[in-house]
Amino acid sequence: MNIFLAVLQRDLKLALRRRREVANPLVFFIIVVSLFPLGVSPDRELLSEIAPGVIWVTALLASLMSMDAIFRSDYDDGSLEQLLLLPGSKVLLVLAKVTAHWISIGLPLIIIAPVMALLLYFPAHAIVSLMVTLLISTPILSLLGAVGVALTLSLRTGGILSSLLILPFYIPVLIFSTMAISAATSNLPVMGYYALLGAFLIMSLILVPFAVVAALKVSHN
């Protein structure tokens, strides 16, 4: 457990030092969401209809864009190799890095999402469901995204390639989340959707770190 806390602390400190870099995905999210009314139409009904999809797809892209930072700088300056040589569980190390990344990128996204939802005339009574789905799902996005980044670390064209690898895996999260939101919009029960997302989160938490560790080893060949 020590390695988890130590790495978590270290990464959060680093994130605090690189505040501007960390804010970029958030700004990207805000700008892209506000492009939709300009590109589609400012029509109230249309916007509120597409709002869950727009916010969710944009959140996927924003989180994907930020993923590269999770290992990149540590890989480039060699500290990742040192961390992997440390005694202790590599899985915990990966979990710590993903958690730190989620706290610095995922959480701000969840906080800003309701504001962006209002810009798209998102029905106010469904905003809680938007936040809950984001809260459960953004860790899944970070975990799966970490696999893509770990697989492409030693390649020069890593960024776009890792998005290409990982985006198809985001599909179930996108589907379950937007369905939960549309159920909440029409006042239908949503707990089933949350349970599904939660199960997916637990499964990812257990299985994905092993894939990340294996991928990091391949990258350090």
Partner: protein, 243 residues
């Protein structure tokens, strides 16, 4: 795990796969001829789908094989990661190419079936959508494999992605199916499985086995080529050349 190392050693694999390649090629030819005859001539037109039902006899096997190939690829990936068998690494890359071509065929034939039946080449039907996602997954495996200059590192990275993918495919599949039923209501299913008459099932299964033998023949042939080319400096390749 002695037998994995034995059958997976490049030299021994090359020997036993040669025999199997001949058997499988012959079987493929026979089954394809029989299947085509049955699918195009013997089997009657469907009362609902008319003659377009004949597209199903190649569409459904392509779709099945596209999924089967992914499982083969991921299994080879597991063997490659755990026992570091060179042949398994080659199989991962080669089955990705074959699988992508089956997926592409399933998509194209599905679209050609959809135009007369649904009135549009593309409908966001659960099966077509799943097939599209599967194509994305194959493209990802091929992209990561070819991104690495060293084929062995590329194969390891591709194996990891394939293993993550094979766990995710059922989840993706059911989520897409669910999304589809909630958004569109039940569409016309391509095969009402229990009621599909025997006259349709026979050509379907013959074609299915034909595609399966074709797949293994192709996979063996591709793997043998890759082995020869990669192991060109070893003694066993020299021995084969001298024969």
């Amino acid at each position: 795990m002695h037998f994995i190392h034995k059958y997976g050693s490049p030299n021994y694999f090359y020997q036993w796969s040669g025999t199997w390649l001949k058997i499988l090629s012959a079987l493929t030819l026979i089954l394809m001829a029989l299947g085509l005859y049955w699918a195009l001539i013997i089997s009657p037109p469907d009362y609902q789908q008319s003659e377009t039902v004949r597209i199903m006899y190649i569409h459904v096997p392509s779709a099945w094989m596209s999924m089967f190939t992914y499982v083969v690829m991921a299994s080879a990936g597991v063997v490659a990661m755990i026992w570091r068998i060179k042949v398994a690494e080659i199989v991962v890359a080669q089955s990705a190419i074959i699988g992508a071509s089956f997926t592409l065929l399933a998509l194209v034939t599905g679209m050609l079936w959809g135009k007369p039946m649904w009135g549009a080449y593309w409908v966001w039907d659960a099966r077509l959508t799943s097939e599209l996602v599967l194509l994305f997954l194959y493209v990802g495996v091929l992209a990561i494999y070819s991104a690495y200059e060293d084929p062995r590192t590329g194969a390891k990275a591709a194996s990891i992605l394939a293993i993550v993918g094979v766990i995710n495919i059922p989840i993706i599949h059911y989520s897409v199916e669910w999304w589809n039923t909630l958004h569109q209501g039940p569409t016309v299913t391509k095969f009402d499985s229990p009621s599909a008459p025997l006259s349709m099932l026979t050509p379907l299964f013959i074609m299915f086995f034909a595609f399966k033998t074709y797949f293994f023949a192709l996979l063996f042939a591709r793997t043998r080529n890759a082995l020869l080319s990669r192991e060109r400096h070893t003694s066993w390749v020299q021995e084969i050349l001298e024969k």
